[in-house]
């Protein structure tokens, strides 16, 4: 009241007084919208972080282009001839070629695991305890997530497709997905799955400073001279990454669902508020308030709730993401938070917009109140 005396009664005071009258409802609205925002932020954050982790993994491996079998929607079913690898290495724009065979195998006869086969000299097969000795054909490396989940340690024996191997070491994955896999020698994996002289992909590192136009020419040249292949760049490959794409899809669906929910929550609560304040709204109309001013009152109240919810939700979401990533880290997924203040601000703004959209029905409801009816029914 002191504030009002100093500056006169304003619309914001009326809105604030309205919210103070229904503290429990205001709190419920803020909390429920905040939770939907927090859930969305956490999921988007995890999705973005893991996707970035994949991208960073390929960047660390210096993969510019990926050669695979043409016409394969699932990249893991791709098979190209190993004879193409020397031809790729002969290309002057190519600095390095990493052939890779990927397949899903039966681990210890009871669970499936993704197995990567690399050339024996590939740096991905490095061993921490004997760095100068290559991996043997009866040895495998296990990713940290796979090691934890399957409870396997260096020195343990495992069977893959009924053939026995020894775990030589664990490895730090380049990407979160690889952390759940086994690495072995290409020449050990090929006979194991009946894919002699076959690889799934060839990762190409190009010579530095190659223009985009020259890269496109190279892609066309490979596809022309090596029939049955297709060449995609790392960004396209990452976009098609199944786990990242699935997470992205889930996070987007959740985002839309949560936006709809937030809108519904706001709409329902504000319709309730408008119904309770039917008489007050009729009085305001009777003293000359326009439809716009009435709508402004409701939108202002909604915006105030939404701003509070956005601040709370962004905070909870940020904390939630850090906790989720910390949990993922403990499982061996090395994803760092990609949530930026801009993204959080954008999400908070989106919540405010969604809430305002949600108040369309209560506004319509309020504008439909007829003064004569509302006052006569008192």
């Amino acid at each position: 009241m002191i504030t009002h005396r100093r500056e006169g009664y304003r619309l914001r005071h009326l809105v604030w007084d309205g919210l103070r009258l229904r503290p429990l409802r205001a709190f419920a609205a803020i909390l429920s919208i905040a939770v939907t925002l927090a859930a969305s932020l956490t999921l988007i954050g995890v999705s973005e972080s893991l996707e970035t982790s994949v991208a960073e993994g390929y960047a660390a491996r210096k993969v510019d282009l990926i050669v695979m079998q043409a016409g394969k929607s699932n990249p893991l079913t791709s098979r190209i001839d190993t004879a193409l690898v020397p031809a790729m290495r002969a290309l002057e724009q190519v600095a390095r070629v990493q052939p890779l065979l990927v397949d899903t195998l039966l681990l210890n006869s009871d669970q499936s695991i993704l197995v990567y086969g690399w050339e024996p000299t590939d740096p991905d097969l490095r061993l921490t305890d004997r760095p100068n000795a290559p991996l043997r054909t009866d040895e495998v490396l296990i990713g940290k997530t796979a090691s934890r989940v399957a409870d396997l340690s260096p020195g343990d024996s495992v069977t893959l497709n009924l053939t026995e191997f020894v775990i030589a070491d664990t490895f730090e994955a380049n990407t979160f997905a690889e952390s759940g896999t086994l690495f072995m020698r290409l020449d050990a994996l090929q006979p194991l799955i009946g894919a002699e002289n076959r690889v799934t992909f060839a990762f190409l590192e190009l010579v530095p400073g190659l223009s985009a136009a020259r890269q496109d020419e190279l892609r066309l040249e490979i596809e022309r001279t090596m029939p049955g292949t297709t060449v995609i760049d790392a960004a396209e490959f990452i976009a098609d990454h199944q786990l990242a794409a699935a997470l992205r899809g889930v996070s987007r669906i959740t985002l839309f669902t949560n936006a709809f929910l937030a809108s519904l929550i706001v709409g329902t609560l504000m319709v309730l508020t408008v119904s309770e304040r039917r008489r007050d709204i009729a009085i305001l109309r009777a003293v000359g308030w326009s439809s716009w001013r009435i709508a402004h009152l409701i939108l202002f109240e909604t915006a105030l709730l939404a701003v509070a919810a956005a601040l709370l939700g962004a905070s909870i979401g940020w904390i939630g993401l850090e906790m989720a990533l910390s949990h993922l880290f403990s499982l061996g997924f090395y994803a760092r938070s990609m949530l930026t203040p801009t993204m959080v601000a954008g999400a908070a703004l989106a919540v405010i917009i969604v809430a305002l959209l949600g108040s369309a029905i209560p506004v319509y409801h309020a504008l439909g109140i007829r003064v004569a009816d509302a006052i006569r029914n008192e």
Binding site: R5, G8, D17, L21, D280, I283, A286, V287, G288, R376
Partner: protein, 218 residues
């Protein structure tokens, strides 16, 4: 030309129950007119139609030559009329002062101007000390005085009062009549008051009788 011209006004509810039938009425500027009649005679409906809170099935209401219609309703309610209700119709959780300030929101007045004007009016009706009191803690007489301040705060040319003394005790009723009389004398505006109270009717310069939605011959 009369300030308020009502021509052939009819209104029914649900298309069945006639509330007003073919009412013609002219009221000049500065008149204090009582619409007298028993409950259900159509007084409140007539005031509601004059206020533009609802619209007639037939006929028209014109104030200062302008027909009351939905398109100009906001401007009309804000600048032309003031309304005083039997049940005060204050926003119960706001103070006396804030209730009056709300009526000035649609005007161009600055918040502090609104505040000062509301305080000034409250002082004029003897409620300066109750200005910051929440409406639901005021007595009936006090509430009606606050409602009166709200109805005249935008200096309407036409004040409409629907059973303004209907919920008041005798002392409060006399106090309100005195306020209305004083305002009429000072501002030279027009007052139309719907009532079934003979005391109120006798305080007016003209009495118009309504029965079963029709005007009775004088």
């Amino acid at each position: 030309m009369a300030q308020l011209e009502i021509r052939g006004l009819s209104r029914s509810y649900g298309g069945i129950i006639p509330a007003l039938v073919d009412v013609d009425l002219s009221i000049d500027s500065g008149e204090m007119v009582a619409l007298l009649g028993p409950s259900g005679s159509g007084k409140s409906t007539l005031l509601s139609l004059i206020a533009g809170f609802e619209y007639p099935d037939r006929g028209s209401v014109a104030v200062d030559g302008r027909v009351v219609n939905a398109r100009d309703a906001v401007d009309y309610r804000r600048n032309v009329i003031g309304v005083l209700f039997q049940h005060y119709h204050l926003l119960e959780t706001l103070t006396a002062c804030q209730n009056i300030e709300l009526a000035m929101f649609p005007t161009h007045a600055e918040p502090m101007q609104r505040y000062r004007r509301a305080r000034d009016l409250l002082q004029q009706v003897g409620l300066a000390a109750r200005a910051d009191q929440i409406a639901n803690r005021l007595s009936g007489g006090e509430r009606q005085r606050v409602a009166f301040c709200r109805s005249i705060v935008n200096q309407p040319r036409l004040l409409l009062a629907d059973e303004p003394t209907g919920s008041l005790d005798t002392a409060s009723k006399l106090e309100l009549l005195q306020l209305l009389r004083r305002w009429m004398d000072a501002e030279r505006r027009t007052l139309v008051v719907a009532t079934h109270d003979a005391d109120v009717a006798s305080a007016c310069s003209r009495v118009v009788r309504l029965r079963d939605g029709r005007l009775e011959a004088a």
